[in-house]
């Protein structure tokens, strides 16, 4: 992540935070204000209700039991009614001017408040859409034209991709995810079998790899013993390193493991290179005090365990002839590096109206700067023509040892005579040999 990413995230975040602050403000204020007016209203209703109640009660307890609404006689009950205003004696009871004023006031207030809520919320619209604009401005939305052909429109290729995904998760021990995918995409038996077959071996190694990181060597040692012959044939050091780590692990356990450490050394010492034996056995001196403060200290750090786990992973994969990386993750990570560059060049080509140039060739328009661990093959670019060599235009070694492409060789030679572009040697062009990287 670089500064531009930071800036992009920050500008979206700024707009987002603005909306959050406003929403929170509105939330607090609106509920308070609407709550206020609502309780004021309820109070008014109560008061009115009580006023009414009084009338009814008075009427009911009065000497003349006339039902309200049938034109009851005068009834002087107004004094003690809560509205502090004299109520009209006639029934049905009517509101006094004062009551009407109070109600009018509160209604006006109520209208004001609710409209304010609505308009304040509406005012947020601008801020909300600013988030969207910030996202559109800072992030790119369209990948459709980064590729000349879309290989993933093809059903067969999509199924192959499903297979690659299933393999990837199989490798990481998520067999259940792989199985669900196989079921859901209706992958053929044959493909599904291939997924599990190819990754079964790796799954075991992956397990051991994780165990080593957790400082458990038992499975790793068993594995090394099983493949001991092949490992030694390939001059692998992993077996020795595993045994060495185990020995130090026993030694660092202290006195309780002393006998075990000695017995271990006796059993496996034959596996160690002669020059290392003395150094390793010396560690036994420190059994009583532990290895923490000795020259062996660094063997016990977590980095050594991590390092060991990766050495194991590399050597084991090499031995079994399988890739140590998940193909899917290598491809996707390489793609994530390539896409920004491709989007950039697309913009440039579009602005210069030369997008068509892309379509003509079967190479990407630019070189993608991938990290060295993503380089798997040699590529020879002719230093004269600045082109990659191909089957039709292979690299050739001149007699002086310099390498140029076949096309360049023909262009530079005069009849059979060729002067090397890099050194003073004149030579016969026929003597250049095809080489293979």
């Amino acid at each position: 992540m670089d500064a531009m990413d930071m800036e992009a995230c920050a500008s979206v975040e700024k707009e987002l935070d603005r909306v959050v602050t406003k929403l929170e403000h509105l939330h607090k204020n609106a509920s308070a204000e609407i709550g206020d007016i609502a309780s004021l209203m309820s109070e008014l209703v109560n008061v009115l209700g009580m006023a009414e109640q009084m009338v009814v009660t008075t009427l009911n307890t009065g000497t003349q039991m006339n039902a309200p609404g049938t034109g009851s006689p005068d009834d002087p009950m107004g004094e003690n009614v809560n509205m502090q205003v004299e109520t009209e004696p006639a029934a049905p009871q009517r509101l006094t001017d004062r009551q009407m004023d109070i109600i009018r006031d509160s209604i006006v207030k109520c209208n004001e408040r609710v409209q304010k809520l609505s308009s304040e919320h509406r005012d947020l619209h601008g801020s909300v859409s600013k988030i969207g604009k910030a996202i559109d401005r800072n992030f790119s939305a369209d990948f459709t034209s980064t590729m000349r052909v879309d290989a993933l429109q093809d059903e067969d290729n999509l199924m192959l991709l499903n297979k690659a995904i299933a393999k990837h998760y199989c490798r990481q021990g998520m067999d259940d995810v792989a199985r669900t995918l196989i079921k859901e995409c209706k992958m053929s038996e044959e493909h599904a079998q291939d997924v599990f077959d190819s990754e079964r071996e790796f799954a075991e190694i992956y397990n051991i790899w994780m165990q080593i990181q957790k400082r458990d060597l038992s499975e790793a040692l068993k594995w090394a013993e099983r493949h001991s012959g092949q490992l030694r044939e390939g001059h692998s050091i992993v077996e020795f390193q595993l045994h060495r780590m185990r020995l130090f692990q026993l030694v660092s356990n202290g006195m309780v493991s002393q006998d075990e450490a000695i017995a271990y050394a006796r059993t496996y010492v034959k596996n160690f290179p002669a020059k290392e034996i003395g150094y390793l056995m010396l560690s036994l001196i420190y059994v009583p005090v532990g290895l923490e403060n000795t020259r062996y200290k660094h063997f016990l750090s977590q980095e050594m365990w991590t390092e060991l786990s990766f050495i194991f992973l590399r050597e084991a994969c090499e031995l079994l002839g399988i890739s140590k990386n998940s193909a899917l993750s290598v491809v996707v990570n390489a793609g994530c590096t390539a896409l920004p560059a491709l989007l950039n060049i697309k913009q440039v080509m579009q602005s210069r109206k030369v997008l068509g140039m892309w379509n003509g060739c079967d190479e990407l328009p630019i070189e993608i700067d991938l990290p060295p661990e993503f380089r798997f093959h040699s590529i020879f670019a002719c230093p004269i023509l600045r082109q990659q060599t191909t089957e039709d235009n292979p690299p050739k070694k001149l007699t002086c040892g310099h390498v140029i492409s076949n096309d360049a060789l023909h262009k530079l030679s005069n009849g059979h005579i060729l002067k090397c572009p890099y050194c003073p040697v004149e030579q016969n062009a026929e003597e250049a040999v095809r080489i293979y990287f």
């Binding site: 531009m4 992009a8 001017d97 290989a151 690659a164």
Partner: protein, 394 residues
């Protein structure tokens, strides 16, 4: 352009679109409740402005209405705004994740490497999940999200609705999809979607299929006039179905009666759903896969003798996917020894065997036996005490 700017548009845009939708529906709800309050309060005002002063009990009742509506408004406004706030939290969490790749403190370089690795792993999981969702592999997507604990960083919830709609369509029912169209009506109109029309046509076709021709006519009267302006041609074609038996051989009728039309509706729906959330029609995952394959693809990946175990493009499946993709571009030679995997440079000079095969100086001891025989690891040809030439690559 940098990776996050180039790749993470959808990560932020989808929750933004949800926020925008929630905002609009909140506004609608608030406006409706405000209207309700205003309505009853207007009644009170009207009662008050009558020539004769109003009856106490009537006004009490009206005021009671106002109070009640106010309570409803308060509750609904509360709910809506809380809803909006919860979506902003989703946006926020995703932003935090995107920013999470920044080294928290520069001194701890090694731990940072680890966290970048971890971040990339999560990114891969996120991209795969998005791809799975687009392919309609919902169960796998759910399972993966749960296993790698990235649910909060994905758009699974948006796709949950689309899953329900798709399942419904797969069972030849339009109900949920029609509801979805109504739910997103204004937005769909903005992007000129014809999905709802296609659904109405399908409903019509089904009625014809069941020989309920009278109902079909009723259905057409009810729904088709709205599309008269834009879809007249299509409507004519569809109406023609009424004139033919359901098992007709007429080409254009068969096209409509084909049950595969349902599958097409699923795809149409998916497409409209992407457009609604402004997702591009290609997923980041598929773009990244193709760009990655291209960036890694070399002519050697397609030659029998040059396979590299660790090269993804050399593996069967990916090799076939990459077949039509462009090769990587390279103006500067980049040579790697096929034995040691180490780069060829001044510390590891390229050397040529008599058969033209080039290996690094450091690899020579590995392929040379004690008696001086050299075995070419590519062709398996043996040379006894061969002349090995230095090669100069500019």
């Amino acid at each position: 352009m940098s990776e996050i700017k180039a790749l993470e548009h959808a990560t932020l845009k989808v929750p933004y679109e949800i926020l925008n939708k929630r905002f609009r529906s909140a506004q609608k709800i608030i406006d409706r409740e405000v209207d309700q309050v205003m309505n009853v309060s207007r009644q009170v005002e009207k009662a008050l402005s009558a020539p004769q002063s109003p009856i106490l009990s009537d006004v009490t009742k009206l005021m009671g209405n106002v109070a009640q509506k106010l309570q409803v408004l308060k509750r609904k406004a509360d709910e809506s705004i809380t809803d909006e706030l919860s979506v902003t939290q989703i946006c926020k969490r995703k932003l935090e994740h995107l920013k999470g790749i920044v080294p928290p403190n520069r001194s701890d370089g090694e731990a940072w490497e680890g966290s970048v690795e971890q971040w990339k792993r999560i990114r891969l999981d996120r991209l795969v999940i998005e791809h799975l969702l687009r392919m309609g592999y919902y169960e796998t997507a759910e399972e993966l999200a749960a296993r790698s604990d990235v649910r909060h960083l994905t758009n699974l919830d948006v796709f949950q609705t689309s899953r329900e709609v798709e399942d419904d369509l797969a069972q030849n029912s339009t109900t949920k999809c029609v509801l979805w169209c109504i739910d997103n009506k204004s937005k769909l109109r903005k992007i000129n979607s014809t999905l709802e029309f296609s659904l109405r046509v399908q409903e019509f076709i089904e009625l014809v299929r069941q020989n309920k021709r009278f109902e079909a006519v009723q259905h057409s009267r009810r729904y088709f006039p709205a599309y008269e302006k834009t879809q007249l041609n299509e409507i004519c074609h569809v109406m023609a179905l009424l004139a033919y038996p359901t098992d007709t051989d007429m080409d254009h009728c068969r096209k409509y009666m084909d049950p595969k039309r349902w599958d097409k509706l699923v795809l149409d729906f998916r497409h409209e759903n992407y457009r609604l959330y402004q997702l591009s029609s290609t997923s980041v995952f598929s773009a990244a896969i193709q760009a990655g394959l291209s960036a890694l693809k070399t002519p050697q990946c397609y030659s029998q003798t040059c396979h590299n175990l660790n090269c993804p493009v050399c593996q069967d499946d990916l090799n076939r996917i990459a077949l039509k993709l462009p090769y990587s571009h390279c103006v500067q030679s980049r040579l790697i020894c096929r034995v040691t995997g180490l780069p060829l440079n001044e510390h590891n000079q390229p050397m040529m065997l008599p058969n033209g095969q080039i290996f690094g100086q450091l690899a020579l001891p590995e392929i040379t036996k004690d008696d001086g025989t050299v075995t070419c690891p590519v062709t398996n040809v043996k040379f006894s005490n061969p002349k090995i030439d230095k090669v100069f690559v500019m």
